[in-house]
C-alpha cells in the first residue's frame, strides 16, 4: 500500500497551500448510483470534503444546517449535495446534482443521481454522459433490485467501467467475507451485462475510509486502490472513431459569398478536400474549408464545434447529416432500438412520438417488442405499454427516411430521445441497435452491415440511381458505396470483373 498512500497524500493539500491544478486531460464524468440510503450523497460529500472542494463559508453553512455534528464529530456530508428544500425535508435525493472536484491528476464531473425508483429518469440523465459508474451497495443489505436496475441502465448506455463501492463496511465490523460475497455477486452480474472493468472497494463513506485516504488500520486485508486512485486511473470514453459525422445544426449565411454548415463533429474527422455525402438526400460534395472563430483549420475531429464550407451549392438544411463517403451510417424507415421509459404514462404501442436525434426531429411510431426482467436478466415478449422505468426493445417506424448509426458504433448518432406530442415532455431515452429491412411487408432485423445488397458505384451514378423513382422501394435493402470513377474502376479490375 505504499505507492497509493503517497499518491493520496500528494493529492490532499492543506487549505492554505496553493493548489496546482494540472488539467492535461478532459474531465472524467462519473455517476453514483444504487438504492436509496446506500449513502451516495454522503460519499460524494466526502469526496468533495476530502479533496478540499468545500470552501470555508460552505463548510460553515454545512455545520449550521447539520444542526451541530453527529456522534462521529462529523457534519452531514449529504447536505452538500441535497440542495433542494424537499430533499432536505425528506432526506433523499430527488434530482441529479452535478458537482466538480479535482485532484492534482485530473478533474471530475460527478452526477449524484437519485436512488428512488420513481426518479430513475434522473439516474438515466446522469448515466447518458458518464464515463464511469460508481454502484453503491450497503454492506448490510447486499445487492438490491435497484442496484441491478441502475447497473443495467448504465451498461445499456455504454458505460464500461464500474466501481462497486461496498459502503458502510464499518457496520459489519470490517468483515472481509461480507465484502468478498457482495463483490463476487456483483462481478457475476456485471459480466452478464458485458461489463469487464470492475473495481470493488470496501469503504465507509461517512468515515472517509478508502475514499480518498486508505484505511490500512481498519481493513488490513484490503490492498486495492482507494476510490480516488481508481477514478484518477479511469479512462475517458474515447471520442467516436469510424466515419465522419456532422449533424447540421444551422446554416449560416452572413453574406452572398459565404454559406457554412454549423454543427459539432459527432464522429471521425474531416479535412479540406474530403468528399462527403449529405444525408438523407445522398448528394455528394467536397469540403473546401473548416471555419472557426480563431482561424481556418486544416482538420476537425469528433467533439469539435465547427462551420463547414462545401465546394458547391447544395441543398443542406438543419437536421441533415454530413458524412464521409466511406463508412456511411444506416438509412431507412425501420429501426430496432432499446429504450428506457422515463415518465408515468409509459410508452404506448403504436403511438406516434417525436424523436430527436442529433439535430433532427421526426415523427415515429413505436412498437414494444420485449421488456427486460431485472430479476432474471431475461427479455420477456411484451406487446403492451412499457411502464415508467421499464427497459424495452422496440421497433421504430418513420415516415421520412431516417439516418442512424448503431449506438455501439457511435454514441451521438445512435442515441435519441422520445418526446410525447401531448405533453411535450421527454418520455424515453433510446439507443439504436439495428436497421430493419422491409421487404414486401415482412420486417427483418438486420445487424449493422448484415444481409444487404451492396452496390459499389461512382458517386454521380449512385446519386442518379438513388434518386430514381424505380429505385424508391429498394433503398432500404440496398447499400450504395459511393466512390470516385477511378476507385470504382480499380475495384472492378481487382475483383476481376466479378462484381
Amino acid at each position: 500500500m505504499t505507492a497509493p498512500a503517497q499518491t493520496a497524500s500528494a493529492t490532499i493539500l492543506p487549505f492554505a497551500e496553493p493548489l496546482k491544478t494540472v488539467r492535461d486531460t478532459r474531465p472524467l464524468r462519473l455517476i453514483t448510483c444504487g438504492s436509496v440510503d446506500d449513502g451516495k450523497s454522503t460519499l460524494i460529500g466526502r469526496l468533495l470534503w476530502d479533496t478540499k472542494a468545500v470552501k470555508e463559508d460552505q463548510a460553515a453553512t454545512l455545520a449550521r444546517d447539520s444542526g451541530g455534528q453527529n456522534d462521529l464529530g462529523l457534519p452531514d456530508f449529504a447536505l452538500l449535495l441535497d440542495g433542494l428544500q424537499a430533499e432536505r425535508e425528506q432526506g433523499i435525493t430527488i434530482d441529479v446534482a452535478y458537482r466538480y472536484f479535482s485532484t492534482d491528476r485530473r478533474s471530475f464531473i460527478v452526477a449524484d443521481t437519485p436512488g428512488h425508483e420513481q426518479y430513475t429518469r434522473n439516474m438515466a440523465t446522469g448515466a447518458s454522459t458518464a464515463d464511469l459508474a460508481i454502484l453503491l451497495a450497503d454492506a448490510r443489505a447486499g445487492l438490491l433490485e435497484q442496484t441491478r436496475r441502475h447497473a443495467t441502465i448504465a451498461a445499456l448506455m455504454g458505460i464500461r467501467q464500474f466501481v462497486l463501492a461496498v459502503n458502510k463496511i464499518d457496520l459489519v465490523h470490517y468483515d472481509k467475507a461480507v465484502f468478498d460475497r457482495i463483490s463476487h455477486e456483483f462481478r457475476e452480474f456485471a459480466l452478464s451485462l458485458g461489463v469487464r472493468q470492475i473495481t470493488a472497494i470496501p469503504m465507509s463513506a461517512l468515515k472517509g475510509e478508502n475514499v480518498v485516504y486508505p484505511a490500512d488500520a481498519s481493513m488490513p486485508w484490503y490492498d486495492g486502490p482507494t476510490l480516488v486512485e481508481t477514478l484518477e486511473l479511469a479512462t475517458v470514453r474515447s471520442t467516436q472513431a469510424g466515419g465522419f459525422r456532422l449533424p447540421v445544426q444551422r446554416v449560416v449565411r452572413p453574406g452572398e459569398s459565404f454559406r457554412g454548415y454549423q454543427g459539432t463533429v459527432a464522429g471521425g474527422s474531416v479535412k479540406p478536400g474530403d468528399s462527403v455525402v449529405i444525408l438523407p438526400s445522398g448528394t455528394v460534395a467536397n469540403v473546401s474549408r473548416i471555419v472557426t472563430f480563431d482561424l481556418v483549420r486544416n482538420a476537425a475531429v469528433a467533439g469539435d464545434a465547427i462551420t463547414l464550407v462545401l465546394d458547391r451549392q447544395v441543398d443542406v438544411a438543419r437536421g441533415d447529416v454530413i458524412v464521409s463517403l466511406d463508412g456511411q451510417p444506416m438509412t431507412g424507415h425501420h429501426f430496432d432500438a432499446q429504450l428506457v421509459s422515463l415518465q408515468p404514462g409509459g410508452i404506448e404501442p403504436g403511438k406516434r412520438y417525436w424523436l430527436k436525434s442529433g439535430s433532427r426531429r421526426q415523427r415515429v411510431a413505436v412498437e414494444p417488442i420485449s421488456q427486460l426482467e431485472l430479476a432474471t436478466g431475461k427479455w420477456q415478449p411484451h406487446a403492451s405499454t412499457l411502464a415508467m422505468n421499464a427497459i424495452g426493445k422496440v421497433r421504430l417506424s418513420f415516415e421520412e427516411l431516417a439516418v442512424f448509426d448503431a449506438y455501439e458504433q457511435n454514441r451521438s448518432t445512435g442515441a435519441f430521445i422520445l418526446i410525447d406530442p401531448d405533453t411535450l415532455n421527454t418520455v424515453a431515452g433510446g439507443m439504436i441497435t439495428a436497421k430493419r429491412a422491409e421487404i414486401g411487408g415482412i420486417h427483418r432485423a438486420d445487424a449493422p452491415g448484415g444481409q444487404r445488397v451492396v452496390l459499389s458505384l461512382p458517386a454521380d451514378l449512385a446519386e442518379q440511381l438513388m434518386a430514381s423513382e424505380l429505385f424508391a422501394n429498394r433503398r432500404d435493402e440496398t447499400e450504395v458505396k459511393r466512390m470516385t470513377a477511378k476507385q470504382a474502376a480499380e475495384l472492378f479490375s481487382n475483383a476481376g470483373g466479378d462484381i
Binding site: K20, R250, G255, T264, W354
Partner: protein, 317 residues
Amino acid sequence: MPLSVQETEVKNPPVSRPPLDPHLKALENEAIHIFREVAAEFEKPVMLYSIGKDSSVLLHLARKAFYPGRVPFPLLHVDTTWKFKEMIEFRDQIAEKYDLDLVVHTNPRGAEEGITPFSHGSALYTDIMKTEALRQALDAGGYDAAFGGARRDEEASRAKERIYSFRTPDHKWDPRNQRPELWNVYNGMVRKGESVRAFPLSNWTEVDIWRYIQAEDIPLVPLYYAAERPYVERDGMMILAEDPRLELLPGETVQQGMIRFRTLGCFPLTGAIRSTASNLEEVIAELEIATVSERQGRAIDRDQSGSMEKKKREGYF
C-alpha cells in the same frame, strides 16, 4: 452592420496564444453546441447579460458560435439602477464594439415606489428590481428562450439545473419535475408562453472561467482587478463608496485600500475583497489559494438556506 466575411480575417494565421487545453476546449465546444441548438430551435431567443465575468465569457462564446455571422439574438440587461458605474460604461462600450442589439430594462414600479436596497432590504429589493423586472422584460420581448451564464458549481440548487431549464408561462421552475436530459440531445419543444432558460456554462467552474478569460484574452470590467478604492465597512462587507447615493451611517467612515471584486452585482449588496491582484495572472493565483467560495460576498444568497431555490422558483435567474 451586417457582417460580411472578410477573406483576410478568415485566413489569418493563428495568433500567438497558447492553445486551449483539452479541458477548456471541451467546455467551449459544449457551450457553442448549446448556443447553436437554442438559436435553431427557438423562435425568439435572448441572452441575459449582466456584465460580469460569466456574462463576458458567455458573450465571447456566442460570438464564436455564430461566426462569421452576427450574434442572432439581442442581449438583455436588467438594470436595477444600482449597478457599479463602471459596469454600465463597460456594457455600452461592448455593445458598440461588437455590434450587439442591447435591450435594457428597469422595473418602473421600483422607481415609482422608491425601492432601494437600503430602504427595503435586500430580499424585497431583489424580488422587485431583479426577479420581477426580469419577468417583465421577458414577457415584453415575447422571448421563448433566454440564455444565462449560471454555473452548477455556484450554489446547491444551481447544481440541480438542466442545460435546458423549462419554465411555465409565469416563469416558474419546478425542480422536482424537470425534463430528463440525456446525452447532448435537448428537448426544445415548448407551447406558447412557456420558455426555456438555457445555460451553456453549466459545467464550468469558477477556475475554468478565469483560465478561459486568460487564454482568450476576454475584456472584463476593471473592478475585477485590485486598485486603491474608497470603501465603507458594513455588516461585515466592504462596500464601494463612490456612488453619492450611499449614505454613511453613524460611526461609519470612508476608508481607502487595495480592493477588488470577485463577483459583481449591485454595489450596495456586493462586498469587495482585500487584494493586490491587478492582472489576470495574479487574480488566478489568488483564486487558487482562496479558502472561501465566490458567492460569499453576495448578501442575497445568505438571507436563509435555500433562498436561491426560492428565488429561482419565482423566476429569478
